[in-house]
Symmetry: D2
Subunit: 206 residues, 4 copies
């Protein structure tokens, strides 16, 4: 295949990119100097060498040296180890960190459990999550697991699946499983709220 | 002015209707039979005769006879008189009623208090609200006032104004002033939540 | 039915208006003074008395007296009677007039012929159109009929139907049947043009 | 800078890509296998080696060998050399080719001339265009130059600039300068057409 079409095809696999925009990317690169292309090319091929996956929370992080296995959050003694927030993706963790409202630790599932998925345990890092909780619980370190999935059918299904696989160990070690609070959020207009949100907003009033 | 343009002008004042759509309305009416036009015309001119404003909560309601002064909710003994939910508009009340999650009583402000509005008391039914709360409080009937404004700058400003004018009487009669709970709502994606919502969702977790 | 819901239902039949916006209209009217409602009501009920349909071109026009049967354009000697532009709706005629690019006369079909419509002659004023063309052709007044439908499947189907029913009389009296020119229009980007448009634009280049 | 942010920054320069989507691209790559990354990386770094710029029309084309200097269209004897269509970008040429409506030759300007641009001759390949026209005109090969810019302010400004710089040579050699035909295009509704389009559609009627 000719390189323009080959590269168009590769860019078409990028999230949210159709063939037309992918083609634009290629023309954009053709108009750029070779220096930019080489820089882009090198950064892509080196990406995985420079980036590791944290052995505790599984978020991506930049390795300062080849021995480093922990991300900055998991390596930080000041983070509250008694709280573990479970998120679907790195972007969620990053977004919550940026808000500065949470001082506990995280675990990145790396996905969601779609409704009726035949093998839910293969969609997310369920084994790694259970291992982490077990180890931390046995040291008596864990008090609360916070499920922080999107309020979408897939996100809610993931929370249900997590509750199911975590309930035994949570009960054994008196760990609370909590969910982010539901209610009206910035921009909500009462007139357009769904019933579920109104019900939660009324129950959680204060 | 010619009747097509005159009617176009009147329809242009309808909420959300520009001159082009207003003109379409007029052509739409021209194509309809005279019966439809007369029915529409009569319903408009009779609207205010048939519809009253409840003397307690100020929502619009259909009068069954000329003596009727109370809406169905205020006339219903089974509604919980100890709870008073304050909303901005009739549509909000109607939407909450449709959800079926609330069994108390309402008060319709008839507006919002815009930020820096010079005479906030004239923007909403503040005097009528205070009179209702006073009368119900003195009978020992009122336990909680629920502020249910939109989560918009105007809505939040309205809630602040209400808290200011209600605080004295609420304290005197041990009435709780509460707000609809804040948190993540249906459709919320963690990645796109604002800081305020994340903070509330974390605080209200359960 | 209660007047709020009755009026909501009537407004819901307006073009482009759903039940929610229809309800907003009713609340909007409830908040207005009785004077506005009466003015609106009267203008609606009087609309058909004040507005006539031109006996030549069938556009709506404001009658100055009950005898008046012609619109301003058909009554104007300076309009070029040798050209007859056929449009679907009053809004089209009005829009072309506003542009000031045309000095001939019009005929308003009052509709379009949908594809596969069983009785196309009932969808538009076909009989009235044929009568007008016959009368004007016999006086030797008519040189060109311009079909000015939307470039949509329905519009194009209407043009085809018109060509079919007009071809005999046009041939007899040497009347040219023409179509608005096709090509690229304001805002067109070559990259997103359809094949038909590119073909026409190339053929009609100048 | 850390490689995730560095790559995010590079992708942010892609047309139509903001920092958030750029970050998504990086996470997308992190989740992919090294094979995909290497393939992408190689295709980017090799892009310019495999792709040439045609020495006649300046479109990009895949080189079959290092000696090849002409694109498939310019190397094709069956294309009509008497017609030269000038387009702004490769995508325009490609789109017109796909439509199959044109059998002449092309020239790719590589840009547009923005309104009030201080040095218009530097925004597009004006010198290369003049050289090509001169050489082809002197051989008596060129009969028509077709300007095929977008119908946008920039596109129309580019056409005006081209007419200015081409008028002398076109007059000398009796070459016609034409523009794509203007009129109503697929999807046009008469009611929403601008004056310019209606005027052109009326003038170009047929």
């Amino acid at each position: 295949m000719d390189p323009i079409n080959k590269l168009t095809e590769l860019f078409s696999e990028f999230p949210g990119i159709g063939p037309r925009q992918a083609k634009r990317f290629v023309y954009y690169l053709l108009r750029h100097n070779t220096g930019f292309l080489n820089e882009l090319s090198e950064n892509i091929s080196d990406l995985k060498k420079a980036i590791g996956t944290c052995s505790i929370c599984f978020q991506y992080f930049q390795k300062k040296n080849t021995q480093q296995t922990l991300c900055a959050i998991c390596a930080d003694n000041h983070r509250d180890q008694t709280e573990l927030m479970i998120v679907s993706h790195d972007v969620d963790l990053e977004h919550i960190e940026k808000s500065g409202v949470y001082k506990g630790t995280y675990f990145v599932l790396g996905g969601v459990v779609p409704i009726l998925a035949p093998k839910p345990e293969d969609r997310i890092r369920s084994r790694e999550l259970l291992a982490l909780i077990k180890s931390r619980a046995e040291k008596g370190l864990l008090k609360e697991i916070i499920l922080a999935m999107n309020v979408t059918p897939e996100g809610e299904n993931t929370e249900q699946y997590l509750e199911k696989i975590l309930t035994t160990i949570a009960t054994q070690h008196s760990i609370k499983i909590s969910h982010l609070g539901r209610g009206i959020s910035t921009g909500t207009e009462i007139e357009y709220s769904d019933k579920e949100t109104l019900k939660n907003a009324l129950q959680n009033r204060k």
